[in-house]
Structure formats: structure tokens, C-alpha cells
Subunit: 705 residues, 2 copies
Amino acid sequence: MRYDFGGLSRLLEPDSVAIIGASADPTRIGGRPIRVMLQGGFRGRILPVNPKRDRVQDLTCYPDIAALPEAPDAAIVAVPAHAALDAVDALGQRGCKTVTMFTAGFAELGEDGRREQERLVTLVRQHGMRLLGPNTLGCWNVDLGYFGSFTSSLDLGYPLPGKIGMASQSGAFGTHVAAVARRRGIGVPVLVATGNEADITVADAIGWMAQSDRIDVICAYQEGFTDPGRMLAALDAARQAGKPVFILKSGRSEVGGRAAASHTASLAGDDAVADEVLRAHGTMRVNDTEQMLDLAYVARKRIYPVDNSLGVITVSGGAGIVASDEAEQQGLPMPPMPPEAQAELRALLPFCAPANPVDCTAQALNDLNLFRAFIHAALDKGGYRSVICFATTVAGSPDMAPRLLEALLPLREEFPDRLIVICAVAPPEIVERYEKAGFLVFEDPSRATRALAAMGRVGKLLSARGARLEARSDIHLPSTAPDEFQSKALLAKAGIAVSPEKMVHSAEEARDAATGIGFPVVMKIVSPDILHKSDIGGVRLNVTSADEAASVHDELLAAARKHRPDAGINGILVAQQVSGGVECFMGISRDPSFGPIAAFGLGGIFVEILRDIALRQCPFDQETAREMILSIRGATILTGARGRPPADLDALARTLSRLSHFAAGAGPRLLSVDLNPVMALPAGQGAVALDAVIELQEEEPAHAD
Amino acid sequence: MRYDFGGLSRLLEPDSVAIIGASADPTRIGGRPIRVMLQGGFRGRILPVNPKRDRVQDLTCYPDIAALPEAPDAAIVAVPAHAALDAVDALGQRGCKTVTMFTAGFAELGEDGRREQERLVTLVRQHGMRLLGPNTLGCWNVDLGYFGSFTSSLDLGYPLPGKIGMASQSGAFGTHVAAVARRRGIGVPVLVATGNEADITVADAIGWMAQSDRIDVICAYQEGFTDPGRMLAALDAARQAGKPVFILKSGRSEVGGRAAASHTASLAGDDAVADEVLRAHGTMRVNDTEQMLDLAYVARKRIYPVDNSLGVITVSGGAGIVASDEAEQQGLPMPPMPPEAQAELRALLPFCAPANPVDCTAQALNDLNLFRAFIHAALDKGGYRSVICFATTVAGSPDMAPRLLEALLPLREEFPDRLIVICAVAPPEIVERYEKAGFLVFEDPSRATRALAAMGRVGKLLSARGARLEARSDIHLPSTAPDEFQSKALLAKAGIAVSPEKMVHSAEEARDAATGIGFPVVMKIVSPDILHKSDIGGVRLNVTSADEAASVHDELLAAARKHRPDAGINGILVAQQVSGGVECFMGISRDPSFGPIAAFGLGGIFVEILRDIALRQCPFDQETAREMILSIRGATILTGARGRPPADLDALARTLSRLSHFAAGAGPRLLSVDLNPVMALPAGQGAVALDAVIELQEEEPAHAD
């Protein structure tokens, strides 16, 4: 499906705005937006509507919507719920195309409110309008001085200009983050709070920001995915535009509560799936507001080094070690300075530690040219993409700060493509001077390190743009759930290797099949009614002769009849016994939001006890499958730990990728697939699925009457 | 060993201080401390010493140390290195007992400097003095206005009063943290930077703070443990005094680099050992300066609820969910409000969400009595030990803040033993008003949640005080490394169950031993020269008859002679074959700093691939052993996962505790023990060590001549 995110422009960039329920009292919700727009210098026309007044806050006030002198680009509805629908209808008739509805009393109140909200949506659609809310704190766009919001958070000051957009389901939380940003000197010029999301969602806001020149970096707060397709399209649009999205998706703690039907789903957990899908669409998930703002603060530089590396130049050995510890934790490389560069630095200052962290000692602060020389060496000879200069309180001293800034300024100009952080304890006005000169300022070296490390990850996420694959169209599911034999046949058609096997229906057939396949063989009961075959003695390993195969056939049937006399038996499966490999688990589960999700892990305790699992949204290519396989904690078992032969990773990755294509092509009727085990044989010998369970949604009758 | 931490009182609480190398220029290192003490109102006498001047900064200046009018409590040495030793000698002769030596040019410069520093230490000891430094930024004690430091960080302002002490090896890092604290309104009235630690270490500073009434909360920065015994004694003293220690021990990233001798040590890693030892001594390790200050900020309340729980009262559903997610992550329980209390809150405000998080909606900010009623219900009916009230920018508005404070003040008085956080975006002066009234203020709900969760952990760490056990004195090691048979005998004497077994020296003896033990048996070669028996075919399982035992005896001997013709053979071990349990690993390794450390994990991949290991400093009791066992990721394998019978945890914990006592009692000659595997049998059936390797340091000859 194609999504159009342009529809929000009138909402966020209006030339004129009508306030329905306008109030003369600037502390009331119908008065506050007028005051903040008047004080904030809104460039457009403000059109108050209130039947009881001629003028509101020194503006001409109109008695009703029909009396408006023009069709406003945007309208704010601040009347009680019982009058809100009439207002929307009148706005639609007057030709207004976007409504921000502060009014509460809809879906958040339960069933009655939900019905009323549905009527509202119907009305909005009839008029071809877009609706923000109801029950929203509103939106703003500082560039135009537009404040379609009644938030009191603006009492602490107006948002600063900048290039960061905030899309938040929760108004209080969104404005909280914006207020924290302002206190830190970070501009959040566009905010959209989506409230009840009757029409416009966080996804729409992200999508609009993705295509707006006003915004370089997108922050979002989201509780659940109401329309996952729209969200993923918005995230893809942001990635296409090269804009990072930092999303705080809350509700992690509810994960455990939801019962999950299939094996894979119960192993994975919904929240892990959301994590993986967000990542696959180029989005970075954050855990708290500080991390969100730290990343947005640095991301404004639009420097996302895929080949990120960190150089630390410090006047304190301690700070250097602390930053190095954090860099290792974050996987951010800190290669040493080249030997010649180290020798040069030693010549400058005999008792420096020139490797990396580069400790230039407090001496360098007595001679700022020396400090600059050390940082220059790190940028030039060291070639680090990111640099932290730890200068602590010295960088914050009103006496030293201007001199330090003067000394460092040439570096900012010579290396415009690097991230340069000054670690300083400084009053806000001094921080601002460094920032205006293009430097980043952090107090805490660990926090700086985390933010710099994230920019490298952003670079990788953004550069993976457009890697989405088309689902294959040649997968045809049967009308009822396939048994093991049929499941394997389906998968084999999709290119997945399964063990050579035959379905038999008599002892004689079992004898012939086993002889044909070669010994030893495995024999299993095949019944749609018996899922856990081993529990009833329905599986026999190590069948080594034709006679044994014949008698095992009868024994398996007898066992099935004894334990499950009511079960339908499709036959007995005779399969080659494959051994000498590593048992793996591959599975598919259908996520209600994101469609088929593939899981990979090692067999037995690895998935069942340790939950050592990698997930990906389907479909994906062999390279991605390989990354996925190697990302599990137990991966060394496959790569040759403890003297084992390395497993056939190519075949394993091929199988996993093909399974993902099968799942994506199969459509929504495919509920789950469990391949348990897939035997990963030694390198060059392949990977074989030894068991397969496919769950399908029952096909609906063509005419249900 | 007993340590005396009182010796620092004269250093940190001097009545008089001499400055050797006093300067009239208040920006020089011999002038700065005089200026900051004069401006900071030092209550004692400042005695400048400089042969070239009569007066320094308006104070009488003395030509030399002998001319001082009194023996000063403390002296600051700010003369060049070549004159420093003479100054110390003269100070000693004048009767001065503590020296803070700013002078650099000692051990930090290499071998020559190290020798000079040793001369300095000898001199100090001769005079019975204590020495801070050399190469230190110094120390301060704000309560007395004493600043024995030349740090320029004081240019940003003097430290605030309070009850937090900072002990830092790195001066720049310590003053950086103190400056950040000051900017956040957190008092760090005592700081000790230990520099080269020729005498006084971070441990001494912690020990002094542990016994000083000036300090309630201790922060420390440490790179390595030069004198681990002293450090642990200091940490124990702090715990005895009920004072938390938040320590940033850097150097995590160097862990991988060090080669480790024994199996256990290589599995554990030095840094994991340090983590565990710090925890065992009641100390909380932190990873960055912000976390350190967050914890210290909350810890000043001296409320450390062992039974911690969190109630969140919020005007934003979003913030409530974000805090809940973090609480789950931190293991901080958020039980729901009791049903009656929920009903009462619903009666107050029909559309609230009264469970926990308690969402009282923005409505509660329109009627602050309502907001107070919600918070009161959480404290009273909910009984939460910790509470977060999320009021965002409203709590920071100059108009609302005084009214909110007035509304909440009665709660602070009624529930003095609770931690109450107000989440607010507020200017510093408003934050200060909440704090003065006894509330804690955080901007970020996640960060507040982390700090509150830590207070519960502090409570548990402090309440474990005095749990240290005495080492047993009846462990006697042989003079040379024992073989497997001897090792097991040693361990059996220490109360550890081993498999019934016999050492045999002929096929005939093997036949008898196996028959006596009962079949099946295991047979192994025993040789001090063959550590990896399996690799040369030196182990045979499943020996089921007397005849087989006899022939296996000869085969094992032959295999050993073939593969290792030079190996000395002590005999063949015939042991009962124990099966039907879970294979575990127990080990001991001797840490150079902290003595014997015990490791526990499950066998095979769990320790070797997944590094799923718990560590403890020896000795420890059975209860601690049990905690340790249950703390590994794979613990469910022992408690009955996947339909297994639960293992005999009592026996396993007993065995592990006894091993720890054995190791502690064995003394420093015991290098390592590996019990691999220990078979944990089903509940009630015990735990049995099936293999044992003990490594010893060779005994030194009594007279080496």
C-alpha cells in the first residue's frame, strides 16, 4: 500500500487558523493558543469563533463558523464534546481541511465514547478533512510561530529553533521532552501530539517530518502500533530521506503477560519483535528521554560515520579510562594513534601518554597551542571520526573558555566531517558559545561516548536503505493444515532441504522404503491429531534393518491406537537418520502487527532455557540470515568451538533465508512454522530440516451465508 | 590485619596549615590554596613559608620551616621536586604530622622517580608522618573552609555543604565530579585526591569518611587495588557505619588482555572478580559520573528500603508506562494498589487509572488537593517505600510550583521514611525549593526509577554487614601437587562428597576394586604428567564386568605409555559411575588481590561457550552458595525445567560452601581447584564430585642456601 504523508502540511504550516470556542481568558484552553500565537508572532491569520463576543484578546471574533471571512487552513476545536461534531461538520462545510481537536470525552472514556469517536471519523472522512485528536494537546511549528496547543509547558519558554521534530502519542510526555530539550538548549521546533489518534497517528507525523525540509532528526514516542503498515512506510520514508528516527516505544514490561500461540511467538515475545522490526526499518529504539535527547543533540550535526572510531584526548588519565571502558561496552573502536604520531606527541610533551586515550596531562591547559596540537594529531594522523576532548572545569572557566575556543576553532573548520565533543563543566552561556562554534558539549564522558557510538549505528541503519525484498508469489498453501510429510514437501518446493523420506501405509511398504533410503532410518507416526509424537512413543530412532522397519511400523501404529484411539493416522514416515551435525531451531510466527517473523536458535536448552534467539522480519536475504545466525550467543558452537568441525553456515543461512521467503509469500493464512531440528552438517555437507510443523488458519468458505 | 583510619583527621581537619613554597600570586600552585582559604573563610591559621618574602597575600610569611611559630597540623608542599624531600624532613623535625604534596616528578616519571618516591616514603615513615601525594591536586573540607588544593575548578564556585565525601585517585576526575555535583546543587564538602598514593590511598580516605560524622555517603574513583586488604577493611568499616560507598572502578576494558593461569580464572576475568568482591563488601559499583551522583543525591536521605517498592502517580499515562518499563528492568516491584484504595480513587476521579502506575490525569493538576489525595493513597494504602510523582512542566511553573509545594508538604511530614521524587522540568531555583522541603527532584522518570531501585539494593548490601566468616584452620596441603585420587581424598576430608573409588596398580586389583564398588564403573589413568586424560584415551566409561575391568586396566596403561612414554603413572582409578544428574562445574582460583574466588556454573557449553558463571569471594555459607547457584542464567535446568526432576540444591550448595571454606583455609599456596564435573543428583540424592584437579605453589625449601 502507498501512503501519502503530505496531508499534514496545512495542519502544521497554516496561513490561517480558526479557534472554535475561543476564549478571552488566556489561561483557558480556548484562550491559551491565541495568547501564545500572538506573543510567539504567528505569521498567519488568527480567527477566533465565539457567539458571545465581538473581540477576543484584541482580535475580531466571529459568531459562528459560517461567518468566517475565509476557509481557514486549520481549525482548533476547543468546545465541549457534545458540540464538537457539529463544529467539525460546519468547518467541513466552510471548506476547512484540518482540525486539531483538544476536546476530550471520546474513545478514552469507553464504549459510548468510542462510538462517538467513530461518528467523528466518519464525518471527517465525508468532508475530506484530516483530524488531529480528539483529546490532544495539539501541535506546534515554531518556524511560523504557530501554536495549535493549549500546553502550559510553554509558560517555561518557547521552543528554540532547530531541526528536530517530536511526534508523540502522549501530549504530556511529548511536551515534557520538549521542555527538557529547551532547558538543554536543544530546539524542537515541530511537535505533534496525536492523542486518541482517531485519524492522524504518530506514523503520519513521522512521515510528514521525513519529507519536510524543516526537520533533520525525528524523535517519537509510541505506545502501540495501531497501523503497522503506515508506521513502517513512515520509517522507510525517513530512512530514504537520510533522517534518523529515535523512538521510545513503551510497554516493554507488559510483554510477559500476553499468551502466545505458537512456539516461535512464545519464545520471541512481542517486544523483541517490535525491536527487531524497528531496527530492520532503520530506526533506533531508545529507552529514556535523556538518551533520546542525547542522540538527537548529536544527530543534528548530520554526521553518521559508518566507519566510526573514537579518539579521546584528555587532561585526566582517569577520564580517558572511563571513556575507554564505555567505548568497549558500546563496541566503538578506539584504535591507537599511529607510531609516528605517537613519537611526535612525545617530542612535544615527554610525559604524555600518546596511544589512545591520549593523555596530554594538565600541562596542555597551560599552553593551549599544545592542547590544539594533540587534538589536531588525533583528527589528522589518528583519523578518528569522533573525538572527545576532556577539559573539565577549565573549559567552563569564564577566563579560559574564550581562549580555549579560539585555540580549537581552526580544528572545527579543518575537519568539518568529524564529531568533536568538548567534555566540560560549564555554565549554560559558555556551553552555548562552544555549540555555536560547532562543537558538541557533554559533561559526562561516558554519556558522550554512548551518543557518539550511536551515530555510527545510525550510519549503518541509514545506509541499509531500500534493502527490502519482494515476497515471492509462487507459494500456494493447502486448504487444511498439512501433516509432517506434506509440510516437508511444501518446504522442499520452496528450496529447503529435508531428509530423504517416504510415507508408508503397511509393514511391507515400510520394509521397502527403509531399504530404499538406506539404514539407519527414523520412523514416526504421522497424524494431524498427534502433535507431540515422542510423548506417546510415536518416534523410533536407529532402525537398522528391513525386518526391524516392518515390526516398528506395527508397533508405532499400536502405540498410537493405545494412547490416542480417536486420532486419525495418515501413515508412518520412514526417513533417513541424519546425524553428526548441530541441531538448530528455525521458526516462523505471524505477528499481528508485522506479519511473519523468523526466529533462529540452537536446539534444546539454547532456545528453551536460555532464549538465545535471533529474530528478523520476513523476507530477508542470505547475508542477513548469516548475520542473524552469527548474532546468537551460542554461535561459536556453529563456527567450530571446542574442536568441533565448523558447520555449513552457507547452507544454514540459505535455508533460513528461503524459509523467510516461503513465509512472506505464503500470506496471512500461515500462522507458524517450526523446523525443529534443522541439522547443520559440517561445512560443505548442507543443512537438513528433520521435522516440520506448519500451522494454518482454516480457509473460509467462499460464500458464508 | 587491623587498619587505623583515624590518621587523616589532622590532614582534613587541621587547626593550622603551613604552605611550603607560598606564593603571592594567587594563580600559582603555591598561591592558590592561600587565596581560596582566605576567601573560603578557613577557621584555622595559615602559615606561608617562603625565604624571599615577609608577607604573602597579607599574611605573615616565614623564611623557613624551622622559623614557624608552631608545629602545624598540616603542611602543603608546593616546591620543586629537588627541594621536596628536604622540606618534608624539616617539617618532620618541626613536628608536623601530615603533608599534602602537590609536587610532581616522582613515580609517574618512571624508574628514577620511583626510587625518589621510595626515599620520600622512608623519610615520612621515619618522622611518623602521613603523606597525601606526591603529584596530588590535594584535598578539601568545606565545613572548616580548608582547601589544601590548587585546583582551578574552584573558580566555578566553592563546593556546597552536605554529607557526601569524594575519594579519588585521579585529581582531575575527582574535581570534575565535584564540579558537576555543585552545578546540580549537590554538596561534596570533603574531597581527597590521592595522586601517586605513596602513602595515603583511596582506601584510607574511604576509611576516614566511614568514621567521620561529616560524611553519610561515600563516592570513590579507583583505577586499581594497590592494597586490597586495606580497601576491603575500609569498605567493611563503611558498611559497619551504615554508609553506602558508590565506586567507579575503571579499567573494565583491559580485562581481556591479561593472561590467566587456571581454568576458573580464565573463565571469570579479573574485572568480574573485582565486581563480585566489591559487592560482597557492601559496595555498589557504578559505571559513570552521572549514575554516581544520582545515587549519592538520593542516598543523602539515608532511606535504604530493603523491601523497596515503587508507586508512580502520574498526570501522563505515557510517563507512567516508561517508568514501569524501567522498574521491571531494574527488578523494582510495582505492586498494584489494594482494590479498596482503587475504588476510592475512582470515586474521586471516575476516569483515573488507579492500579499502578496511578494515572490521575491532568485533571489532578487543576485541583491540587486531588493530586495530594492520590499521592497520599499511594503512600498510605499502597504502602510504597518509593514514590514518583510525575508533574512535568507544571511542577516547574513559577505560578504553580509554590501551590504544588504547599499541597504536598504535609505528605513529606506524614511519611518521613519514604523516598518521594517529584518529576519536574524546572529552573534551578524551583528545584531547590522542592529539595529544601525534603523532596527529591528528577527530570527523567527512567533515571529517577534507576536511582530509587538502587536504594533498595543499598539497603540489602548494608544489612548484610558482618556476614564475613572465619577461614577454617584444619586444612593441610601436601608439599607437592596431589593427583586426582589424593585431591579427592583432601576434598573428602573437607566434607565434599566424591564418588566411591579406589586406586589400583594391577589388573587383578582392578578386578577386585570394580567388583567391590559395583558396576558400571569408570576407570581413569592417574598421572601428574597427564592433565587431559580423555585426549589420550585415558578414561573409560561403562565398564560392566570384572573381566572388562581387568583388561581395561591394561589398555589404559598401554595407551598412556604409547602417547606419553615419559609420563609417571601413579595407578589406575576405579570409580563408581554416577549418572542421572546434572553436570556442574565448581572451581577456585586465587586472585592476586582478593585471594580465593569460587566459581559455579553448569557443565560443558554453559561455562565454556556461554560463560554463564557466578563468582564469590571465599569463604561463604550455604545460603550464599545457594544464591550463587540460582543466579546463573541456566539455573532452571537445576530447578526442574523441561520436566526434569529438580536437582539436590541443598547438597550442591553445601558442597560449594565447603569448597569455599577449604579454599579459604588452605592459604596462599592453593592456586586453583577445578571440580569438573560435580554431578547434581535429583533432590535428596546428593551432589558428587567426579573429577578434581588441585594446583599448588611448590613449597619453598625451609633453608635456601
